[in-house]
């Protein structure tokens, strides 16, 4: 008999979602969907707010990556107001944003994703989580918790508030960095880099080495990719740059973030509150058909490593070269998001050290005063979950007249739907539904860290 399976809520992800899988009379997967269950409407309710206040409001879009929204919003308001950010202000902003990537990647890899690999996809759900992991591998867990916490506290000690930050302001940064603060952060950042190297080694030996063909084809789909690159040399840049949109065949277009609406569109489906971005510029329309997808591209770690030409820090570049030798460019395997995430962890730690080693970061001039005025600004950064775009228009009073945002995760809503379908087709055969099979469907989603 035909029936519907509801995986609700999808767990060990940041947002709120449900998966429905329709089985036909023969117990075959006839249809599946990943539904986004809520919408808060930040685009609408920031209208009329003084633009300089908005970076402290939109951080609440996501409590896991509030620094990303805080940064993108400040960049957008700078442009609306025509503000020039002093060099030290810009450095502090990049430092904070890249440091926030570090905690985020540790959180995702160990707290959310690793239980599936370490405890096993089919382990009892009561232990298939970070607390089970803490019992199975107490030393590893203690180390992970300690290092993630250290990263959070480094941000908090310097910037006051780590969840829903307030230290970036239109025109720059709210406080300069003292030499003492710089020394402390340098010491902490050195430890983080050592830990990142350990994570990479641990994951290669214990997780990635075990990825067989089945694991690599979990939720496999073929798509394009989107991410920021440094316009100078096409290198990975999380903080600033040009957007690069790559086709599945590896050819690409680079464009200024301000032109995003010429390149990307968003579809609305009747069964999800989330919108579905697609590559409008390809002119092929939008389809999530597994055999003949149209307009589909992906964002987040794997996308960034696919679109960049290189990484300008040595350890991460060596990892990227190895990754490319094994999986090519662009690499399509969904599971490789995890691997790419750890390469980015290494990059983020190296980059933080690089920024801190620049002694001009302690320059006391960190903010120029701003004047409210009419304007438009598009702030873009790479959030852990993908290219984050905040587009604001201000009126003469410097209040928001209208806003549009494309949040990292949403770029992956169509790809996630496709990966769910693929994983469900592969895991559910002849109407046999097991907890392990359903968890495999969720594992396909977790790769994208939504």
């Amino acid at each position: 008999m035909a029936k519907t399976i509801n995986i609700q809520p999808v767990t060990r992800i940041e947002g709120h979602a449900r998966i429905s899988i329709q089985l036909d009379d023969q117990g075959r997967v006839a249809d599946s969907k990943l539904h986004i269950m809520a919408m808060r409407g930040f685009e609408k309710f920031i209208e009329g707010r003084p633009a300089e206040e908005v970076p402290r409001i939109v951080s609440r879009i996501c409590g896991i990556c509030p620094w990303m929204h805080h940064t993108a919003a400040n960049k957008a308001v700078d442009q609306c107001f025509g503000a020039q950010v002093p060099p030290a202000g810009r450095k502090l902003r990049e430092l904070m944003q890249v440091m926030a990537h570090i905690s985020d990647k540790i959180l995702h890899f160990f707290f959310l994703a690793a239980p599936d690999f370490v405890m096993g996809a089919g382990a009892d759900y009561k232990i298939r989580n970070v607390l089970g992991l803490a019992q199975a591998a107490p030393e590893l867990a203690a180390q992970v918790v300690k290092m993630r916490q250290a990263g959070q506290m480094m941000l908090e000690r310097f910037a006051g508030k780590v969840i829903h930050p307030v230290a970036m302001v239109p025109g720059g940064f709210a406080k300069p960095m003292s030499q003492k603060e710089r020394d402390e952060l340098l010491a902490g950042a050195g430890e983080q880099l050592e830990f990142a190297k350990f994570c990479m080694k641990y994951a290669k030996e214990n997780v990635f080495a075990k990825l067989d063909q089945d694991a690599l084809s979990l939720g496999r789909i073929t798509t394009g990719f989107l991410g920021l690159v440094d316009p100078a040399d096409g290198s990975l840049n999380l903080f600033d740059g040009a957007l690069r949109l790559m086709k599945p065949d590896g050819s690409y277009l680079d464009f200024n973030c301000r032109q995003y609406a010429d390149f990307l569109g968003e579809r609305v489906e009747t069964w999800s509150y989330g919108k579905f971005p697609y590559a409008r510029v390809w002119g092929e329309g939008f389809s999530m058909d597994l055999e003949a997808p149209k307009g589909i591209y992906r964002s987040n770690t794997l996308a960034r490593l696919n679109v960049c030409d290189r990484i300008n820090t040595p350890l991460a570049q060596a990892e990227l070269e190895e990754f490319r030798r094994r999986f090519g460019r662009p690499a399509q395997s969904t599971t490789l998001y995890h691997w790419a995430r750890l390469i980015e962890l290494v990059y983020a730690c190296e980059r933080v050290l690089e920024i801190l080693e620049d002694e001009t970061i302690t320059d006391p001039l960190v903010r120029n005063p701003v004047e409210p005025r009419a304007g438009r600004g598009v702030g873009c950064v790479e959030a852990p979950r993908g290219s984050l775009i905040h587009d604001y228009v201000t009126g003469d009073d410097g209040c928001i007249a209208s806003a549009n945002m494309i949040v990292g995760t949403t770029h992956n809503l169509a790809p996630m739907n496709m990966s769910v379908r693929r994983a469900a087709l592969d895991a559910i055969k002849g109407g046999q539904v097991s907890e392990e099979a359903l968890n495999q469907v969720e594992m396909a989603v977790r790769c994208y860290d939504p």
């Binding site: 509801n6 269950m37 609408k44 996501c62």
Partner: protein, 313 residues
């Protein structure tokens, strides 16, 4: 026997859950005393059976002694989850300002749902305009509600997010069978800045340039930001963000003014009225500030405080 804990996020951002994780090693130390039976961010317990074949009318939350709920109530699913949490948890904690006062998402309460839908699904530049999603997604309620507008709440833990010290205190107090010791004063009471009186100040200004202070000196040497003429919500906001060490309110550590993220000092206080009164009694006029309601009720728009403007005639 370990304490059974269930945790849920409704119209939330996961920041309150990250605040729990930011207990760090303290959470690992507490872990043997806690048995998390439901927590979607970290574990895989499902509403409708682990095989997804349960009755959609019977949302399952395991029995727990302690329930934590973050986020306000925005749609039908949130309401059902909240009711199931209430029914199955002995003590229910409203975790974070979204849960206690609506939080940032309640800013939408100043607008009608139809305006939001029109804008979001048909009005954005990137949109291919389409009808509102209505199939298999939970219908919106007419506005965002704080938890206690829908069910009885036993413990209020405001903050956006709450300080991990106070989350730990709430859990520890529960384990020890006592009342949690939570701050009840205002942010100003926990603020070390220098206050010399308002002087000639007649108005407050927007935060368009940094406060005046010597970065080489501690916060205790900085002049109160309100006295510097910046709008600071400290006087009408519940203390707590400085945590147990009480060094300084978090935003002040970054040298920026408070925006009220802990909600009103008293659970049923009104941050907008209190702030207007506080300023008026000092002869400060804030008529010139744009966005009064949205600014002063930024975190506490539930309980009917923020409402759609009457349609223009």
């Amino acid at each position: 026997m370990a304490l059974r804990v269930a945790e849920e996020g409704l119209s939330s951002c996961s920041g309150c859950e990250v605040a729990i994780l930011n207990l760090g090693e303290r959470l690992l130390a507490l872990a043997p005393q806690l048995d998390f039976v439901h927590m979607p961010l970290l574990m895989d317990h499902k509403y409708f059976g682990q095989l997804g074949d349960g009755d959609l009318k019977r949302l399952e939350i395991p029995q727990a002694e302690l329930g934590l709920v973050s986020g306000g109530v925005r749609n039908q699913e949130h309401l059902e989850v909240l009711q199931a949490m209430r029914a199955n948890c002995g003590t229910l904690v409203a975790l974070g300002t979204c849960a206690t006062h609506g939080g940032i998402p309640a800013l939408i309460n100043g607008l009608a749902n139809a305006e939001l839908m029109e804008r979001y699904y048909r009005g954005c530049e990137t949109n291919d305009p389409a009808p509102d999603p209505t199939e298999t997604v939970p219908p919106f309620l007419e506005r965002v509600y704080a938890l206690d507008e829908k069910v009885k709440v036993d413990i209020y833990l405001p903050g956006c997010p709450p300080h991990p010290d106070h989350i730990a205190e709430a859990v520890l107090a529960f384990l020890e069978g006592r009342e949690p010791a939570l701050p009840h004063k205002s942010v100003c009471d926990a603020c070390p800045t220098v206050r010399q009186g308002k002087g000639q100040l007649k108005s407050v200004r927007r935060f368009l340039q940094n406060a005046q202070y010597d970065p080489a000196k501690p916060i205790a040497d900085m002049r109160c930001l309100l006295e510097q003429g910046l709008l600071c919500m400290g006087p009408v906001t519940r203390a707590g963000c400085s945590g147990a060490d009480g060094e300084a309110p978090r935003c002040l550590k970054a040298r920026v003014p408070c925006r009220g993220c802990y909600g009103p000092v008293r659970q049923n206080g009104n941050q907008m009225l209190d702030m207007l009164n506080a300023l008026a009694s000092n002869g400060i006029d804030i008529k010139t500030l744009p966005d009064r309601a949205g600014g002063l009720l930024r975190f506490s728009g539930a309980h009917g405080r923020l409402r759609p403007r009457p349609a223009a005639k």
